[in-house]
């Protein structure tokens, strides 16, 4: 009886919080349908919904080009980061003794590093490499910046793989490289999936690097482009809201499709500590 009431209260609380979570999106949506250039109210169904705003925003924001740019960056960052960190995770967990713990500690030392702490030298480094204002200015640093988490993540996975499997593979005639690809990587699929999802999100949503290192919004990530979009159309609320929602749409659609995997990845990802 008491427990039931408590559970009901909890559910009511959750429903309220869900409402609070959704309101900004709804408010943006309603504003996006107001006539372009007007100043609508926070939440109000427009008498004459201007769906055309979305078309206009699509053109103004150059969505096609933006999607391409973000996709290129993700394709440049995620597979390489995952591969390289999976190898390192395996190497640190399975091929080195405690004597090499320091190496691992150096990697995890970067776990809490705010990107802002290295953004200034990164700018000069990228400039020296001649990569400023190219997508590589985002891709290469991100791979490095993801290493602490990715290596930590994959090592934690490999630590839980029984040593016996490695030894069985060795006796079955596998080289280290063969064992890695045929035994360890297939077994690590769930960990690799989660890591890929997280890295995809972090890359897609990366803002600081594009803002500092790439001037042209068309060479940026989605988040970086959104920043530029706001700078340009900040005063036209309906257009800004329509554009923002469109820029958000790809991630939200992916998220809704793979909701379970995303949630699992984000929760585990947070537990990195």
């Amino acid at each position: 009886m008491n427990a039931k009431l408590q559970s009901l209260l909890a559910r009511a609380l959750i429903v309220i919080l869900m409402g609070v979570t959704l309101l900004p999106f709804l408010s943006m949506f309603s504003a996006a349908l107001a006539p372009s250039g007007t100043y609508p109210y926070g939440l109000q169904w427009p008498s004459d919904p201007q769906w055309i705003n979305f078309v206009k925003a699509f053109e103004v924001a150059n969505m096609g080009q933006l999607l391409l740019s973000s996709t290129l960056i993700v394709v440049g960052v995620v597979p390489v980061s995952v591969l390289v960190s999976t190898m390192a995770g395996y190497g640190l967990a399975k091929l080195t003794s405690d004597k090499y713990k320091w190496l691992y500690l150096i990697f995890v030392a970067g776990l809490t590093l705010p990107f802002e702490a290295v953004i200034t030298p990164l700018y000069y480094e990228v400039r020296a490499l001649g990569l400023l204002n190219t997508r590589f200015a985002i891709i290469l640093p991100l791979i490095g910046l993801y290493m602490p988490f990715s290596v930590y993540w994959m090592r934690a996975h490999f630590l839980n793989v029984p040593k016996d499997l490695t030894e069985a593979a060795q006796l079955d005639g596998a080289t280290r490289w063969g064992e890695f690809w045929r035994v360890q990587v297939p077994l690590a699929r769930p960990a690799i999936m989660s890591l890929s999802i997280l890295l995809f999100l972090w890359t897609w949503n990366q803002f600081l690097l594009p803002v500092v290192l790439v001037r042209d919004p068309m060479q940026r990530t989605m988040a970086g482009a959104l920043g530029a979009f706001q700078g340009q159309w900040g005063t036209d609320v309906p257009l800004l809201c329509a554009g923002s929602l469109m820029i958000l749409a790809p991630t939200i659609i992916l998220f809704l499709l793979f909701q379970r995997q995303f949630v699992a990845a984000l929760m585990q990802g947070a537990v990195k500590g």
Partner: protein, 357 residues
């Protein structure tokens, strides 16, 4: 055609020496069991033969080849792990065939071999399953199949039955014996279970503390344990150990007595023994007979009636206890006074440093 030769094998982790110079030769086709308490170094020794642990000193020959620096995969050995170590993402078929695949064996040959092995182990219907869908016994079979399919010169088993329940363990034990007879390969088997050791082995190697205590056939170990450790380790219930003093020696006999045992004369190669010295007398529970004139007397504490024998524990006057397994059914009850004798030829004598006399 491969026997095995270990010469002065040593293993240290830092300053701790865990294998202290093991010499052992194993003939082709022999079934050898390493047995000993946990931490005695038996698994380490097996893993050194497999190449999974580096050796700190000594030589290992498999067949005629010195394999000290040979990778595990090139040693011609296969191993069955305690955990089975099946690849969880592969079907049974792929698990068994993995080594062949790595060796780039022709696909048809591979398929034929896998199916042959599956037939031998009666697991043809399991080939499409993943390890997670198998019972413990089935996994065990797959693990053995994975070893057989490679036709290794030497099979290594690391406590392969310890994760099975008792009934299954007996079945698999018999199956392993049959397999050994069929394949005629050299097998080395590690266990802490003396029953497995006794039933499977041609030759048992008893290890303790990184040192070989005794090497011999099961019955040799049982009948003539080389020292107190082996005496206590082999046989169930455990051998009873009693301190005694030598009263007098004669040619091939000595006369002894202790605080708990009355004067008695035993056959013994007495040349090196002096009257007045202290010895240890070992008596297996099965050596005892109920005998009103017996040399051991005490109060019955515990009676276990097994039908074909009766196990009793009696407390002697110095508060130590002795366990006896009397043939048949006894009418002793707890609290009774019991008097036990023993067959002199079944007595084991050990000197002060624990070595057999």
């Amino acid at each position: 055609m491969a026997g095995l030769e270990l010469k002065d094998i040593r293993k240290s982790y830092g300053n701790v020496e865990v294998i202290k110079g093991v010499d052992l030769s194993i003939a082709h086709g022999e079934f050898v069991v390493f047995v000993g308490p946990s931490g005695c170094g038996k698994s380490t020794l097996l893993r050194m033969i497999a190449g999974l642990e580096d050796i700190t000193g000594g030589d290992i020959h498999i067949g005629d080849r010195l394999v000290n620096d040979v990778e595990p995969r090139d040693r011609g050995v296969a191993m069955v792990f305690q955990s089975y170590a099946l690849y969880p993402h592969m079907t049974v078929y792929d698990n068994v065939g993995f080594a062949l695949k790595l060796a780039k064996t022709d696909k048809q040959v591979r398929d034929k071999k896998i199916r042959e092995v599956a037939q031998v182990l009666q697991m043809e219907e399991l080939l499409d399953r993943k390890p997670a869908q198998l019972s413990g016994g089935q996994r065990q079979r797959v693990a053995i199949g994975r070893a057989i399919v490679r036709e290794p010169e030497v099979f290594l088993f690391d406590e392969p039955l310890s994760n099975l329940d008792a009934a299954l363990r007996v079945d698999m034990r018999m199956e392993l014996s049959r397999l050994h007879a069929d394949l005629g390969a050299t097998m080395i088997y590690v266990t802490h279970d003396q029953v497995e050791a006794m039933t499977l082995a041609d030759k048992i190697v008893v290890l303790d503390n990184g040192i070989v205590q005794q090497i011999g056939s099961p019955l040799e170990l049982y009948n003539r344990p080389a020292n107190l450790f082996v005496a206590g380790f082999i046989g169930s219930p455990k051998m009873n150990i009693l301190p005694v003093d030598v009263l007098e020696t004669a040619e091939n006999t000595i006369t002894i007595a202790g605080t708990t045992i009355e004067k008695t004369t035993l056959p013994c190669a007495s040349a090196s023994i002096q009257a007045g010295s202290g010895l240890t007398l070992g008596l297996r529970p099965q050596a005892f007979v109920a005998d009103p004139e017996g040399v051991l007397k005490g109060k019955v504490e515990l009676v276990e009636r097994l039908g074909h024998e009766t196990i009793i524990r009696i407390r002697l006057k110095d508060e130590t206890t002795v366990t006896a397994a009397l043939v048949g059914q006894s009418d002793l009850e707890p609290g009774d006074m019991a008097s036990l004798g023993f067959k002199p030829e079944e007595a084991h004598l050990f000197n002060a440093s624990g070595e057999r006399i």
